[in-house]
Symmetry: C2
Subunit: 156 residues, 2 copies
């Protein structure tokens, strides 16, 4: 079968080391806030809104007293450097996830809003064919399937 769930392929230590290297290269600073944001994104196996991420960090590290502005600033910085990627999903706003994983697409439940990731080789290949056929130089792509997840179908 060509469809299956992705697995997290990097260790946190590696991710952190890469992050530090990036900061050094760009003469940016490694701060407590930045570390906790990266860590929280890594360990929450979810797609988080800036707001949700802020809540998680406030709960886990109340003494850090991280402001929402820092979350936004850090997420933008991480996105620019391809460490996270964002997914905007209808009216609900943007959600972020670590982007260092294998490429994957998303299946979004319209009932519980849970996002499931998947990879499909047929689709990956076909996308390249389509771009080529239109003389389009593909840089990236994203696909979302909307519907009702298994769990929600069972609970109704």
């Amino acid at each position: 079968m060509s469809t299956n769930f992705t697995e997290r392929t990097i260790e946190y230590d590696k991710l952190l080391a890469d992050f530090k290297a990036l900061l050094k290269e760009k003469a940016l600073k490694f701060t407590n806030q930045r570390e906790k944001i990266l860590e929280t994104l890594y360990y929450s196996q979810e797609h988080l809104t800036p707001e949700a991420l802020h809540q998680l960090i406030k709960e886990k590290y109340p003494e850090l007293n991280a402001g929402i502005a820092t979350i936004y600033r850090t997420l933008s910085m991480l996105e620019e450097n391809d460490i996270v990627s964002s997914l905007s999903f209808g009216a609900q706003g943007k959600k972020y996830e670590l982007g260092a994983k294998d490429h994957h697409d998303h299946m979004i439940c319209t009932k519980c809003h849970e996002i499931t990731e998947f990879v499909d080789e047929v689709i990956e290949t076909q996308q390249h064919k389509i771009a080529d056929a239109h003389g389009f130089k593909m840089q990236d792509h994203s696909m979302q399937i909307y519907g009702i997840c298994k769990k929600c179908q069972e609970n109704s």
Copy 2:
């Protein structure tokens, strides 16, 4: 070849008649503003932001003096009734297009922001297979390919 551009398959008259029928069915009113919004969406072969749509209507029908709030209200109403669909594309906000056309996906130029539509049967079929394989009841889906369009490649 299974990939090709879609063509606009409905005549404006038919669209308008359907729209009137819908309004009647829901006891909603057929107003000048609503007509112009539908018309503008139809004739501008583009994906429009609420703001852009507002501008177009102000230019073409200044005497109508349509307010931005009406544009938003009408677009929401049209989206609920599956007459238009929205596409949110990165930080740039939502864009709307008539949804009564055949289903299609989008190729978005990251340079000129132009959106090209395409339909691909392989992808359509594969999406159903993926959803089935995960016990997911598919309702809708969307796919975007990001890259540099032919025109922009030539101009650089």
